[in-house]
């Protein structure tokens, strides 16, 4: 303990303060649940950037990365052929590929790799590694592999020479280039030489940061890679980035308060951001980008397989109260399945509002009796917004006589539940993530039947017409024609009500003022591009 009156915080003090906070939160049980092993590693504070998040990753294998945290890790540790700029809306920038050419048929692409890129173990990045990365992604059929389903086949990607990659897609896929920032390039020889689990403790990338430590459910420590080919912003760089997993929301705000954390995630309660905004050394980023919240309804199970029941529920919800009182105005109600900020949004589709009479009419039309309907609503434990919406839904549905049970589950369990129809809950409150500037990014993973089994499609929606339209829109290059396809898709889906289209939320993050270069472009992973940040004090 420091007795000399220094005003910096020693590790001991942090420990005690955090412990006291936790004890205050509810006695012994809290200490058990929240504080076990939560002591952050105290490093040279000036050079270490701490990102505090309440969510933990289920894997750090880059080809299995699918959710927010996993993609933050992947984009910072792995390079891809192309990159995204931090503008909003984001644009493509060179990555491992210095330059690229698109053939006249919109199906052949040529990428010219830079010759100064090396993996963290010193191996040069070659065209063969790129070929291998695509193969591994498609072989594992996990993570974001849905992006390239039916577009990239086994022979699509070839190495013309050491530094030239040729890709011939199996069909025209309009947003193809925009998906490439999500194809991490891995070191073939390193992965071949090790077993499956190796990637959970090590990285095989060439990105701006390398993994030095991974303690499950606790933290990931990344170190700046001196040999990275890219440009760093200025001299005051963060040599170390710590992704600290802090399950307690109160602890996150406490860490922001005593500056042992620099950036929060977007999953805290609205009240916590208000508290952070009141701190002198913290600003809250509140960019409205793309963070749409859906309550997916299991369309393959009784009674939600009946469109009338789904419509009745859609008309029972008090959307106004969600926007005004739960989110305190930091959101817009959705109109149909696509956020209205995205191009191609159909302004004519039905926007549900609370209308209990109409809800009752639909319920009367259905084959089910409201008294017999019992549903389960599953949300991510700790995501207070979705929990509160669940409480409101419970009250709203009760007016129709429908029983709703709430169930909180950790994110890792939810990603597990949605892999099969039997274990998927009746209703899942889930935010879709934004990965490329194209309506496809929200529509395909959630509503195409090929995407079933991922956390983005817990509605198990089956509609051949929608499948066809989504496929057509992918293979069409003409933007007007694509817009038409997407408008039709939105109309069918909005009408079918396979989900409650709740709100598009402003994404809130607390950021310490000392962090310079912070821009939220809304992209999953890329909105936390740590290599753009520097110390600004």
């Amino acid at each position: 303990m420091s007795l000399d009156g220094k005003d910096h915080v020693t590790p001991h003090q942090i420990g005690r303060r955090r412990l006291l906070q936790c004890v205050g939160a509810g006695g012994l049980t809290t200490v058990l649940a929240g504080c076990a092993g939560e002591e952050p590693e105290e490093t040279d504070e000036d050079e270490s950037l701490v990102y505090a998040t309440t969510i933990s990753p289920s894997t750090i294998d880059p080809m299995r990365a699918s959710d927010n945290f996993e993609n933050i890790y992947t984009v910072n540790v792995y390079d891809s052929l192309l990159n995204y700029t931090d503008e909003s809306p984001p644009e493509l920038a060179p990555g491992l590929a210095e330059d690229w050419e698109v053939g006249d048929d919109d199906q052949t692409y040529e990428f010219f790799l830079r010759d100064d890129a090396t993996f963290h173990n010193g191996d040069p990045v070659t065209a063969d590694d790129v070929v291998y990365s695509f193969e591994r992604m498609l072989e594992l059929q996990d993570g974001l592999s849905w992006m390239w389903a039916d577009t990239i086949g086994p022979d699509s990607v070839t190495a013309a020479d050491e530094t030239t990659v040729e890709i011939e897609t199996e069909r025209t896929f309009a947003p193809f280039l925009f998906t490439l920032p999500y194809m991490p390039i891995v070191n073939e020889s390193e992965i071949d030489a090790n077993d499956e689990d190796w990637l959970e403790q090590n990285d095989a990338g060439s990105g701006p940061y390398e993994l030095v430590e991974h303690e499950r459910e606790e933290r990931l420590v990344l170190q700046r890679s001196e040999d990275w080919w890219g440009d760093w912003p200025s001299d005051d760089l963060f040599d170390e980035v710590v992704l600290e997993i802090v399950p307690e929301e109160g602890t996150v705000t406490g860490m922001m308060g005593d500056e042992s954390a620099d950036i929060t995630d977007e999953w805290l309660s609205v009240e916590s951001y208000q508290e952070l905004a009141d701190l002198d050394h913290v600003f809250v980023s509140d960019e409205v980008t793309f963070s749409p919240l859906y309550v997916f309804m299991h369309t393959q199970r009784e009674p939600l397989d009946d469109v009338n029941v789904r419509r009745a529920i859609s008309y029972a919800v008090d959307y106004q109260q969600i926007v005004d009182d739960i989110l305190l105005g930091n959101a817009d109600q959705m109109q149909g399945p696509l956020p209205s900020e995205m191009w191609g949004h159909n302004d004519d589709v039905i926007q549900y509002e609370q209308d209990l009479e109409r809800a009752q009419e639909y319920l009367d039309e259905s084959d089910y009796d409201a008294e017999d309907i019992e549903l389960t609503y599953t949300y991510v434990t700790g995501l207070t917004v979705t929990e509160n919406i669940g409480l409101l839904l419970q009250t709203n549905l009760n007016e129709l006589g429908i029983d709703l049970e709430l169930e909180g589950a950790p994110w890792t369990r939810i990603t597990d539940m949605v892999t099969s129809q039997d274990t998927t809950s009746d209703m899942h409150a889930i935010y879709l993530s934004f990965s490329y500037v194209d309506p496809d990014t929200f529509l395909y993973p959630a509503w195409h039947s090929d995407s079933h089994g991922s956390w983005e499609s817990p509605a198990w929606y089956e509609n051949e017409e929608v499948d066809q339209l989504l496929d057509d829109a992918r293979t069409e290059i003409d933007v007007d024609q694509r817009t038409e396809y997407y408008e039709e898709v939105q109309e069918i889906i909005a009408d079918d009500a396979p989900a409650l289209f709740v709100v598009n939320e402003a994404e809130l993050y607390g950021v310490n003022e000392r962090v310079g270069g912070y821009v939220d472009n809304g992209l999953v992973g890329y909105s936390k591009a740590f290599w753009r940040l520097y110390e600004d004090r």
């Binding site: 509810g26 307690e248 009240e271 916590s272 929990e387 509160n388 409101l392 709430l406």
Partner: protein, 301 residues
């Protein structure tokens, strides 16, 4: 012989009354146990009359009519809402009052189950002995070797999280303590003369176990029961806190603390008052249990 055994074995009505009076007198001599008794009587009263005491019973989901009012969220403690309101604008005092029901029900269920299983197991193991006794007690030992909360967690995780399953998980953890306690007592009395005597006149094993031996074990069971009520409530709240017990919006104390901790420290009242309720309940049962232990003069650990 302890007081309660005296009372049970007393032949005449007069003697029984006399012993009961002595127990009551010694109990009164200890003011702390009276406080404990007062707390528990109060809790039981609150649990039974919750719908009449609570000002906003619908906020606790009474009669299956949940009510939320997000416009009135996080009102500070005031006359209208002495414990404040939570994130859904519900009156925390009303919810804490209804929480009494869940906690007492949980404690009662767990201990009824634990006694129902543990006592016969202990009796049989102690009286019959031999191979059967060894097997029963070794199984008991296996359960006892894992800390109760950890074992309850292990049982609760594979089940769907709900209040009922939390009760089952805790009950599964609890019975071995009673088996162990009863076993020890049985061993110490099974060679006594009155047992020998009833064996001599041809009493059945069942009769000997339940009529002759069991009354000697009643005192420690009673004491352990009242002490354990507190612990069972605490473990039930812990499971609720960890998300493995009652689910929101059930106004179970542990669940409420867990919900409120996202809003600490600014909305301190959300987690604090359910925590105080747990504290009072556990304290009440502990004081009563301690008092009973002194009066009945038994050792339960």
């Amino acid at each position: 012989m302890s007081a309660i055994e005296n009372w049970y074995h007393s032949e005449s009505m007069e003697n029984r009354k006399e012993s009961a009076r002595r127990i009551a007198y010694r109990f009164r001599q200890n003011p702390l146990s009276l406080v404990g008794l007062g707390i528990i009587v109060g809790l039981v009263f609150i649990a039974i009359f919750a719908p009449y005491i609570a000002r906003h019973p619908q906020d606790a989901g009474y009669m299956g009519e949940p009510a939320v009012d997000f416009a009135n969220r996080f009102a500070e403690p005031s006359l209208a809402h002495p414990f404040g309101t939570d994130q859904a604008g519900r009156d925390i005092l009303s919810r804490v009052i209804f929480g009494t029901r869940y906690s007492l029900a949980l404690g009662l269920f767990v201990l009824t189950f634990a006694i129902g299983i543990g006592v016969p197991v202990g009796l049989v193991a102690g009286y019959v002995g031999g191979f059967t006794g060894q097997v029963l007690m070794r199984i008991t030992d296996i359960f006892l070797s894992v800390p109760p909360l950890v074992l309850a967690l292990a049982v609760a995780v594979p089940l769907q999280p709900s209040l009922r399953n939390a009760m089952i998980a805790i009950a599964v953890v609890w019975w071995p303590w009673y088996a162990r306690l009863v076993y020890g007592e049985v061993i110490s009395v099974r060679e006594e003369q009155f047992v020998e005597a009833s064996r001599g006149i041809g009493a059945s094993r069942i009769r000997i176990m339940f009529r002759e031996i069991l009354p000697n074990v009643l005192a420690p069971i009673t004491v352990k029961f009242s002490l354990d009520m507190g612990y069972a409530i605490l473990i039930g709240a812990s499971l609720g806190f960890l998300g493995l017990g009652a689910q929101p919006p059930t106004p179970e104390w542990g669940t409420m603390i867990a919900e409120g901790r996202a809003y600490l420290p600014a909305q301190w009242w959300y987690s604090t008052f359910p925590g105080v309720a747990i504290f009072i309940a556990v304290l009440g049962f502990n004081l009563l249990g301690d008092g009973l232990r002194d009066v009945l003069d038994v050792e339960v650990d």
